[in-house]
């Protein structure tokens, strides 16, 4: 069966059919190359696009696990913010080992969110939104509202290969690991099963509650691992200003890639495509003469359109939408 599938997927048509975002991706590249023919394909812009891609990808790799189940995790920005604040506190005491605070904090946070969501039955989007706001407030309290500089971690972004941002090299194993978990382990299969039909998965003997908590824990863990790179990539300071844009853009990347909000399909391998496409869109808009607020407006429209398209799938008929 898998042999047949693999042969089928080799033909270009079926690839395009399975990943319609590829057409949009190449279409946009051609469009922007014609519109700004000198600037768009310049090395500086390509590097900037890659940097944008890394930010989106590392933020969205964790929440993708939760989105597979049809739930929602918005706490990733909070893990990055509060983790940086912890790093600022701990670096003078224990040195560079303090970087481990990111994955540890992410894991603990994910476990707690998962346990509250599953055991106390609170809808995940509102739970993680509240958690996100709490983390933001705690970050501001710890850093006393100043963007504290944390020196000593610039080695994370030192150039190794020219024109290729070093964080990209670090992010490749993270992405591969997440794809491996979803595609090649029992966990991934269970996530898909729970996402496409939770009641069915329960009746088939899967411990749904346990694997939901595992998904949230993985999401927190991967957000934490990603934040190690993102922390230096995004300036090496404790972030104190909160913007809903940071939360929304990775979610757009996930949805554009083809993981619908209802879950059960997609995965991190698709989020790569979504993040690439969105960074191309964003860079294209950035190079134009549009104001920042117009770009925000367009990003909002892209979000709505991509959700509408992704939730239009035939399998969704008869499923109640809250």
């Amino acid at each position: 069966m898998s042999m047949v599938n693999r042969k089928k997927s080799l033909t270009i048509l079926s690839v395009v059919k399975n990943y319609p975002v590829i057409i949009i991706f190449f279409g946009l590249i051609i469009l922007f190359s014609i519109l700004y023919h000198q600037r768009f394909l310049s090395p500086a812009n390509l590097t900037a696009t890659l940097r944008q891609f890394i930010t989106l990808m590392l933020f969205s790799v964790g929440p993708t696990f939760v989105m597979l189940l049809g739930s929602m995790d918005q706490s990733f920005i909070g893990i990055w913010m509060l983790g940086s604040a912890f790093l600022w506190l701990l670096t003078p005491i224990i040195g560079p080992v303090a970087l481990l605070v990111f994955p540890l904090f992410g894991l603990v946070s994910g476990l707690c969110i998962g346990a509250i969501h599953v055991k106390l039955r609170i809808p995940s989007f509102i739970l993680t939104l509240s958690v996100l706001i709490i983390y933001w407030g705690l970050t501001a309290i710890i850093s006393k509202g100043n963007p504290r500089n944390v020196p000593g971690y610039s080695f994370l972004t030192d150039d190794i290969i020219p024109f290729v941002p070093t964080p990209l090299l670090y992010s490749i194993p993270i992405i591969l690991l997440s794809v491996f978990i979803v595609k090649r382990t029992k966990l991934g299969t269970y996530f898909y099963a729970i996402g496409s039909n939770e009641e069915g998965a329960r009746l088939a003997g899967i411990n749904v509650e346990k694997y939901k908590i595992v998904a949230f824990a993985l999401s927190g863990l991967f957000s934490g691992i990603g934040s190690i790179v993102l922390f230096q990539h995004l300036g090496g300071t404790v972030p104190v200003s909160f913007s809903m844009n940071n939360v929304v853009r990775p979610l757009i990347a996930i949805i554009l890639g083809g993981t619908p909000l209802s879950g059960g399909r997609g995965g991190p391998q698709r989020t790569i495509l979504g993040a690439l496409t969105f960074s191309v869109i964003y860079r294209g808009l950035y190079l134009s003469t549009l104001g920042a607020e117009v770009i925000d407006l367009i990003v909002g429209l892209i979000l709505i359109i991509s959700i509408v398209i992704s939730s239009k799938g035939g399998e969704l008929r008869g499923v109640e939408v809250a």
Binding site: R121, I133, V294, L297
Partner: protein, 328 residues
């Protein structure tokens, strides 16, 4: 003998759990606790001046919260309330010179149209309400920014200001307006077919459809009502404060949402209602103004309100009743 003793103990325990700790009574208990705590910490809390300040900061909030309550009652969520409120306040201040007081119905119409778009996305295109309204809120925020160009606009129209700043019986009129709207909402939810249909969809959407309720049109109507009320909240906000920047951002959604759940409207839908939301709004605004009187910063307030939001949504959910319902 021992058996009857046991029974009595049981019944006392049940009495406590049914009257004090039951999801519907929790708001009352919390109100009393909040008043006691802040009154002890700050004796001026319940003075006339303190109450007027409270009434001012509560009124427009109550109107927006009533709108959100209808959506939550239906088991959905409206993330765009704050953005729509901001948008409506801005429309009023920008175009009052062109239209005079006619700007109010025009603004309300625009906000109802925004609500219609969210409702259409949810009902007809099958988009989960949280993400649909999140997208709408980003678009509306963008439009607001485009219109205001980032400037601070001041409202100088006396007639418009007097809508909420006239004092009647020692209380600013914005309070009378908001109480009137709250009563209307409570009547709408408790006595009309519209309210019963909303409860029915929140309780069990599939059963509601099977019993002949037009799910799509009802959903669109409820989202329109929410947009309309958020717009009305914006109008009162502008006429009360006369300008100033509306606190921008998704984080302002937390107090609004917290006051809806604190009133006892479960996120699961089908319970609570606008009549309960008054208590929730009182709890949250009293906590907020109490914290402000004690001099805590915005961030600390957000942490406390976030914890309250989570705590109240846990407390107001009757978990035994919904053991088999899937929560995403």
């Amino acid at each position: 003998m021992s058996l009857s003793n046991n029974n009595e103990k049981m019944s006392i325990g049940r009495f406590i759990s049914e009257t004090v700790a039951s999801p519907t009574r929790i708001p009352f208990v919390v109100v009393i606790a909040v008043i006691l705590i802040f009154q002890l910490m700050n004796p001026t809390f319940l003075s006339y001046q303190g109450l007027v300040t409270l009434v001012y900061s509560m009124s427009y909030f109550l109107i927006a919260a009533c709108g959100l309550t209808f959506v939550v009652m239906m088991g959905s969520f409206d993330f765009s309330s704050i953005s729509v409120m901001k948008f409506s306040a801005l429309l009023c201040v920008l175009y009052i010179d062109d239209f005079g007081l006619w700007i109010i119905p025009i603004t309300l119409l625009c906000c109802a149209i925004i609500g219609f778009v969210s409702g259409f996305l949810v009902a007809k295109l099958g988009v989960p309400s949280f993400m649909a309204t999140l997208g709408i809120s980003i678009v509306v925020d963008g439009i607001s920014l485009l219109m205001s160009k980032g400037f601070l606009h001041l409202m100088e129209h006396e007639g418009f200001r007097s809508i909420s700043t006239t004092f009647i019986a020692g209380i600013p009129s914005v309070f009378h307006w908001s109480i009137a709207i709250w009563v209307l909402c409570a009547v709408l939810a408790a006595t009309t077919p519209f309210g019963r249909r909303t409860y029915a969809i929140g309780g069990n959407a599939r059963a509601a459809v099977l019993s002949g309720i037009n799910l799509d049109s009802q959903r669109i109507q409820v989202f329109m009502l929410s947009g309309l009320l958020a717009g009305a909240a914006g109008v009162f906000y502008m006429s009360q404060l006369g300008g100033g920047s509306v606190e921008i951002g998704g984080q302002m959604m937390i107090p609004l949402f917290a006051s809806v759940v604190a009133g006892g409207t479960s996120l699961r839908g089908g319970t609570g209602g606008p009549q309960n939301t008054l208590l929730g709004v009182i709890i949250i605004t009293w906590i907020q103004s109490g914290l402000r009187m004690m001099g805590t910063g915005m961030e600390t307030q957000m942490v406390i309100l976030g914890l309250i939001a989570i705590g109240m949504s846990i407390a107001t959910t009757d978990r035994n009743k919904f053991r088999r319902v899937i929560v995403k």
